[in-house]
C-alpha cells in the first residue's frame, strides 16, 4: 500500500462519484499505518467531501495528537465544530458546539500559541456566530488584530462593521467617515455613514448629550490598543467635541452636507471620475423624501442635484442607471419637465432642416444616448403617435449607423459605442407592435438586430433580444444557435439558461433540447464536485472564511429550480423520444432509475436563481418587471415543475407495474394468485397515491393557470402549463392512469371482476384523446387581455402540437402497459381453451384495449398529417413576405432581410422532421400492441 496507489484509487472513486469508498479506503489505510500523517490528512479530506463534520473533527484531532506542533490540524478540528453548529439547531449550536469551539481557540490565545491570520479569522467567525460583537471588537482592536493584514483595510473595516452591529452610531459615523476619506468612491461606506447620520438625528445625539454612549464605549479605536482608563485630559476634550482622530462625528444634516461637499471637492481633484459623493447627496435626499421631507426644498434641491449629475456624468455609460434610482425624487410631471429641460439646454437638435445632427465624438454620443434613455424612462416616448415613434426609430437607427465610425478600431469582443441606439430602436419598434399589433415591427426588429450582430458579434444584449423575438415567432432553431454564441459560462448556466429552457423542447427541437439539458445537468454535477474540491483547498490554505460560503453556494446550486427542471425534462424526453416498443420503454425506465418512494426534488428549498436583470430596459416604471411578477413567475415555474414531476413519476410507476412479477403464475381465470406479488401491490399503491396527487394538482392549477401569464419582454416567459391545461392534457393522463390501475386490478384479482362501469372508461379515454388532438389543431382563443397581437401565432400552435405529440406518446406507453399486463392472461386463457377444447368468451377488456390501440393509431396518423401541414415552411415564408414596414425606407437593410428570409424558411424543418420521426416510432410501437 503506497500513497500513489491510494491517490489513484481516490481519483477512480471520485469519477464514479463514490465518495464514501474513499473514506473507507483511508480508514483502512489508517488502521494499517496509524502514524502516517499523509493518510490521516487524506482521511480528513475524504470526510470533507462527504460533509461529515463530526468525523472531520475526530480525524483532525487525531492529526493534532500526532503532530501537536502543527496549528492547522487543531484549527481544522475547530472549523469542523463550527460547521456542525451550522447543521445543528440554534440552541444546540449556541450552547454546545460554538462554546466548545470558542474555548478551544481561547486556550491557544491564552497560551500565546496563535500563529496565523486564519486562526484569528476563525475566532472572529465563532464570536460572530455567538453574537459576541463586543468580544470581537476587542480581538480586532487588540494584539490579535495585528494579524489581520492580508486584506486591504480589513482591520479598520472590521471595526466599523462591528460598531454597526453594536449599533453604536457615533462610532459608526466616525469609522465610515474615516474610511470614506481614504476611498471617496466606496458606495457601501456612504450607505452606512448616511444610516448612522439619520440614527444620530433620530436620537437627537450631540456630543454634550451622549447618553453615555461614547463613554461606555470600550477603547476601540482601531489603531489604538490602549486599555480603558488610560485616557488623558486632552482626549476627553476631543470626545466632547465629538472629534477623534481629527474626525468629527456628523449628527446634523448640515454637518453631513459639509462633509459631502468636502468629498465632492476631493472628487474633483481626483484623476478619475468619482461618482460616490454626488450619489451620496442624492441618496440623502432620497431618504429625506422617504421620511416625508420635501426633497425639492432641501439643500440644493433634487432637480438641481440630478442636473449636476447629468452635466458631470452624462457622457458615461453608467449615467442612466445611476440617475434612474433617484428620478423618483421628482414627481412624475416634474421628471418629464426635468428631462425636457436637459434636451433644450443641450442643443442636440438641428433647428433648420430634417437631417440628424450626429455626435462628433464618443462622449457627445453617449451624452445624447443618456438623454434618450432618460426620455424613454420618464415616459416621453410613450404617448407619441405611431408616426413619431417611427421617426424615433429612424433617428435611433441613423445615429446607430453613424456612430459605428467611432468603433472602427475596436476588438471583436468590444461593444460598439452606438449599440444602445439600436436597442432603443428595437424597443420602440416593439412598442409600435404592442400599440398596433403590426407584426412587421417584430420582423424589422429582428432584421435590425441580426445586422447589428454582424457589426458587433459580442453584444449579448442583441442576442438576448433576438432570442426573445425568435421565440415570439416560434422559431427555436436560431435561438439555440444564438444561445450557443453567448458562450455561457459556469454559474450563467444556472442564471441564464431560462432564456431558452422553456422553449427548446416545447417547440419541438427534441435533439437540441436533449443536449441542452445534458449540458445543464453536467454543469450542476461538475460544479458540485468542484465546490467540494474548493472546500478541501479552503482547509488546506486556511481560508476558513470561505468554507461556509462554498457550502452555501453548493446548496444554492443543488436547490436550483433550473436543476430540478432540467432533471425531469431530460427524463421525460428519454421516455418518449427513442422508445418504439414496450420493451425499449422498460429498458429506459430501468436506466432512469427513478426513486418512486422518495421524490428527491427539494420542494421546500427550491431557489429561483434566474437573473432577470440581465436584459437592459428603459421602460417607465409602470411597465417594468416587478418583484411581484418575478415571484409569480417562480410560482408558475414550480407549478409546472410539479406537473412534469408528477407526469414522470406516474409514467414510471405505471411502467413498473407491468414489470415481470409472476406473470407465469397467471391462472386460467386470469388472476394472479400464487405468491401474491407484494412488489406489485406496493407499486400499485404508489401509483394510486401519485394519481391522487395529480388529481388534486389539476383542480388547484386549473383555476390559476388556464390563461397564459404575460411578463414584460425583458422578464421571464410563461411556462407551457396554460397550453397543457387548455388542451386538458393532465386530465387525459389521469384517465389513462386510472385505466392502468383498473387493468392491473383485473389481472391481480381475476378477469371475472370485470366492471362494466369501469370498462366505459375506455370509451371516454378515446373521446378525450380525440379531443386533445382536435383542440391542438385549432387556433387558440385570443385573449382579450393580451397586449400582444399574435398575428404570427405559430408559437402557440406549435407548442400545442408538440404537447399533443408528447401526450400521444404517453398514451401509447400507458396502453402498452395495459397490453403487457393482459397479454399473458390472454395467452393462458387460449391455452386452457385449447386443452379443454371449448372456447371461453373473451372478456370485453381485450376488445376495449384493441379499440383504444386503433383509436391511438388514428390519432397518431392525424397528428402526422397535421404536423406536415402546419409546419410547412412555405406557409411561413408567405406570411413573412407579407410583412414589411413599407413606410420605413431608411430602415431597410436588403441584404440582412434577404438572408433572414432564407434562414426563416428553414426554421420549422427541424421540429417538423423530428416530430414526424417520433410519431413514426409510435406507429411502430402501436403495431406491437394488439391483443
Amino acid at each position: 500500500m503506497d500513497e500513489q496507489t491510494l491517490q489513484a484509487m481516490t481519483i477512480c472513486y471520485k469519477e464514479l462519484n463514490d465518495l464514501r469508498s474513499i473514506a473507507d479506503m483511508y480508514e483502512n489505510a489508517h488502521k494499517v499505518k496509524p502514524d502516517s500523517e499523509e493518510i490521516l490528512s487524506s482521511l480528513f479530506m475524504s470526510y470533507v467531501r462527504l460533509s461529515d463534520y463530526k468525523k472531520q473533527q475526530q480525524t483532525a484531532m487525531r492529526l493534532h495528537r500526532l503532530r501537536p506542533a502543527k496549528n492547522p490540524y487543531y484549527f481544522w478540528a475547530i472549523m469542523s465544530i463550527v460547521m456542525q453548529s451550522h447543521d445543528a439547531d440554534q440552541k444546540l449550536a449556541k450552547t454546545m458546539f460554538l462554546p466548545l469551539a470558542e474555548r478551544m481557540v481561547f486556550k491557544y490565545v491564552e497560551d500565546g500559541k496563535i500563529e496565523a491570520e486564519a486562526e484569528v479569522q476563525i475566532y472572529l467567525i465563532i464570536l460572530e456566530l455567538l453574537g459576541k460583537n463586543e468580544e470581537s471588537l476587542k480581538v480586532v482592536t487588540g494584539k490579535l488584530g495585528d494579524r489581520l493584514s492580508s486584506e486591504l483595510n480589513s482591520r479598520q473595516l472590521r471595526c466599523a462593521e462591528l460598531q454597526l452591529a453594536l449599533q453604536r452610531w457615533p462610532e459608526v459615523n466616525r469609522a465610515y467617515k474615516s474610511l470614506l476619506r481614504k476611498e471617496p468612491d466606496a458606495w457601501n461606506y456612504y450607505v452606512e455613514y448616511i444610516k448612522s447620520l439619520f440614527m444620530l438625528i433620530d436620537q437627537k445625539w450631540t456630543p454634550e448629550n451622549t447618553n453615555g454612549c461614547l463613554r461606555h464605549r470600550s477603547k476601540d479605536k482601531c489603531e489604538d490598543t490602549k486599555e480603558e482608563g488610560t485616557k488623558i485630559g486632552s482626549e476627553e476634550e476631543e470626545e466632547k467635541e465629538g472629534k477623534e482622530d481629527g474626525e468629527r462625528i456628523d449628527y446634523t444634516l448640515d454637518m453631513a452636507h459639509d462633509f459631502l461637499l468636502e468629498q465632492v471637492k476631493l472628487a474633483t481633484e481626483s484623476s478619475r471620475p468619482v461618482r460616490g459623493p454626488y450619489l451620496a447627496r442624492l441618496e440623502m435626499l432620497s431618504i429625506l423624501k422617504q421620511r416625508g421631507y420635501d426633497a425639492g426644498n432641501e439643500v440644493d434641491g433634487a432637480m438641481e442635484q440630478l442636473k449636476k449629475y447629468f452635466e458631470r456624468f452624462g457622457s458615461r455609460a453608467c449615467c442612466f442607471t445611476d440617475m434612474k434610482k433617484y428620478l423618483p425624487l421628482l414627481e412624475e410631471e416634474e421628471r418629464r419637465n426635468f428631462v425636457r429641460t436637459l434636451r433644450q439646454e443641450g442643443d442636440y437638435d438641428k433647428k433648420d432642416g430634417d437631417s440628424v445632427m450626429f455626435a462628433t465624438d464618443v462622449r457627445s454620443l453617449q451624452r445624447h444616448l443618456t438623454l434618450t434613455q432618460l426620455e424613454r424612462h420618464v415616459g416621453l416616448h410613450d404617448g407619441l403617435p405611431r408616426e413619431d415613434k417611427f421617426a424615433l426609430v429612424l433617428d435611433s437607427v441613423a445615429r446607430y449607423r453613424d456612430g459605428l465610425k467611432f468603433g472602427d478600431m475596436l476588438l471583436e469582443t468590444d461593444f460598439q459605442p452606438s449599440d444602445t441606439y439600436l436597442l432603443i430602436a428595437v424597443h420602440t419598434l416593439l412598442d409600435i407592435w404592442h400599440d398596433t399589433g403590426d407584426d412587421a415591427a417584430v420582423w424589422e426588429a429582428i432584421v435590425l438586430l441580426e445586422a447589428g450582430l454582424v457589426k458587433c458579434p459580442a453584444d449579448f444584449q442583441f442576442k438576448l433580444l433576438l432570442v426573445k423575438l425568435y421565440v415570439i415567432l416560434g422559431a427555436v432553431g436560431p435561438c439555440a444557435a444564438i444561445y450557443e454564441s453567448l458562450e455561457i459560462k459556469h454559474i450563467q448556466h444556472d442564471s441564464l439558461s431560462y432564456i431558452i429552457s422553456n422553449h427548446v423542447g416545447c417547440l419541438g427541437h427534441l435533439t437540441t433540447a436533449m443536449s441542452f439539458y445534458d449540458g445543464l445537468l453536467k454543469f450542476f454535477t461538475v460544479s458540485h464536485k468542484e465546490m467540494t474540491e474548493c472546500l478541501i483547498s479552503s482547509y488546506k490554505y486556511g481560508s476558513f472564511t470561505k468554507i461556509n460560503e462554498f457550502v452555501k453556494f453548493r446548496q444554492r446550486l443543488q436547490n436550483s429550480l433550473q436543476y430540478a427542471t432540467a432533471t425531469v425534462e431530460r427524463m421525460l424526453l428519454d421516455l418518449i423520444v427513442d422508445t418504439h416498443s414496450h420493451q425499449s420503454t422498460m429498458e429506459m425506465v430501468h436506466c432512469l432509475d427513478v426513486d418512486l418512494e422518495n421524490d428527491k426534488t427539494p420542494w421546500d428549498d427550491l431557489r429561483d436563481n434566474r437573473d432577470m436583470e440581465v436584459m437592459v430596459s428603459w421602460d417607465p416604471p409602470n411597465r417594468a418587471l416587478t418583484e411581484e411578477m418575478k415571484a409569480q413567475s417562480f410560482r408558475e415555474e414550480k407549478t409546472w415543475l410539479k406537473l412534469r414531476n408528477l407526469t414522470l413519476r406516474c409514467l414510471v410507476a405505471a411502467s413498473t407495474i407491468s414489470a415481470p412479477h409472476g406473470a407465469s403464475n397467471g391462472t386460467t381465470d386470469g388472476s394472479v394468485t400464487a405468491n401474491n406479488d407484494s412488489s406489485n401491490k406496493n407499486v400499485a399503491e404508489t401509483l394510486r397515491d401519485l394519481i391522487s396527487q395529480l388529481s388534486s394538482f389539476i383542480s388547484e392549477a386549473q383555476g390559476e393557470y388556464t390563461a397564459v401569464k404575460e411578463y414584460p419582454l425583458v422578464g421571464p416567459s410563461a411556462t407551457p402549463i396554460a397550453t397543457y391545461l387548455r388542451l386538458h392534457i393532465p386530465r387525459l393522463l389521469l384517465d389513462l392512469l386510472e385505466l392502468v390501475l383498473y387493468v392491473n386490478t383485473l389481472v391481480q384479482d381475476g378477469l371475472d371482476k370485470t366492471d362494466e362501469k369501469k370498462e366505459e372508461m375506455f370509451t371516454s379515454v378515446e373521446t378525450a384523446l380525440q379531443g386533445v388532438l382536435e383542440e391542438s389543431l385549432k387556433q387558440p382563443p385570443h385573449s382579450e387581455a393580451s397586449v400582444y397581437s399574435h398575428k404570427l401565432r405559430h408559437v402557440e400552435v406549435l407548442e400545442g402540437l408538440v404537447a399533443t405529440t408528447e401526450t400521444l406518446s404517453h398514451a401509447v406507453l400507458l396502453v402498452g402497459v395495459c397490453h403487457t399486463l393482459l397479454k399473458p392472461v390472454k395467452a393462458a386463457m387460449t391455452k386452457r381453451g385449447k386443452k379443454k377444447k371449448e372456447t371461453l368468451p373473451p372478456p370485453a377488456t381485450f376488445a376495449h384495449v384493441n379499440d383504444l390501440v386503433t383509436c391511438l393509431e388514428k390519432c397518431v396518423e392525424n397528428l402526422r398529417a397535421a404536423l406536415c401541414e402546419q409546419l410547412q415552411s412555405e406557409s411561413l415564408i408567405t406570411q413573412l413576405n407579407q410583412l414589411k414596414l413599407t413606410d420605413m425606407p431608411l430602415l431597410m437593410d436588403q441584404e440582412a432581410e434577404e438572408m433572414l428570409r432564407k434562414k426563416m424558411g428553414q426554421v420549422f424543418v427541424v421540429p417538423s422532421d423530428e416530430l414526424r420521426a417520433l410519431t413514426q416510432r409510435k406507429v411502430q410501437y402501436l403495431n406491437t400492441l394488439k391483443l
Binding site: 493584514s149 486584506e151 455609460a317 453608467c318 442607471t321 445611476d322 434610482k325 474548493c534 483547498s537
Partner: protein
C-alpha cells in the same frame, strides 16, 4: 473557485449603488525568492462602467495586497491586440517585460505581452528589465 479558496484576499468586486457588479479582479501570489510576485489572473469591468477608472482602482488594490505579501513585482498577461488594455496598464506603470508566443489558443493563436510593474521591495527594478527574446508558453517558469 479554486483561486478563491487559495487566495481570497486577492479577490475584489466593485458594486454599484443599484447592486450591479461593475467590475472585479482576481489574482494570486506565486514564485520563489526574487521571483515572488503578485499575478493578475483576471480583470474585468462591465461595459456600462468603463472609463470610470475602475480598472485602476482594482489594480491598486491588488498591488497593495501584493506589497503586504512582500512581493517583488506584479505581472499580468494581455493579448497583444488588446491595445486599450495595454494602454491602461502602461498608464498604471506597467511595462512590457517579454512577449509570450501563441499564449492564447483559439482559431488563430495569439501572442501575449507579459507586463510587469516593480513593487517597493524591488528597489532597483530588476524584475522589470525587458527580455530581448520572446518565450514560448511551455518555457514560462
Amino acid at each position: 473557485m479554486q483561486y478563491l479558496a487559495h487566495w481570497p484576499e486577492y479577490f475584489q468586486i466593485a458594486e454599484s449603488p443599484q447592486g450591479h457588479v461593475m467590475g472585479y479582479i482576481m489574482g494570486k501570489a506565486e514564485g520563489n525568492s526574487d521571483n515572488w510576485h503578485g499575478h493578475v489572473t483576471a480583470l474585468s469591468v462591465a461595459p456600462e462602467y468603463r472609463k470610470l477608472g475602475l480598472a485602476a482602482k482594482l489594480m491598486n488594490t491588488l498591488e497593495e495586497v501584493s506589497e503586504r505579501k512582500r512581493c517583488f513585482f506584479v505581472d499580468l498577461f494581455v493579448r497583444v491586440s488588446n491595445q486599450v488594455a495595454v494602454d491602461i496598464y502602461r498608464k498604471l506603470g506597467y511595462t512590457i517585460y517579454r512577449v509570450v508566443l501563441e499564449y492564447y489558443a483559439g482559431e488563430k493563436d495569439e501572442d501575449a505581452y507579459d507586463m510587469r510593474k516593480a513593487l517597493s521591495r524591488d528597489v532597483d527594478g530588476k524584475s522589470v528589465i525587458p527580455l530581448q527574446h520572446p518565450v514560448r508558453p511551455e518555457d514560462l517558469e
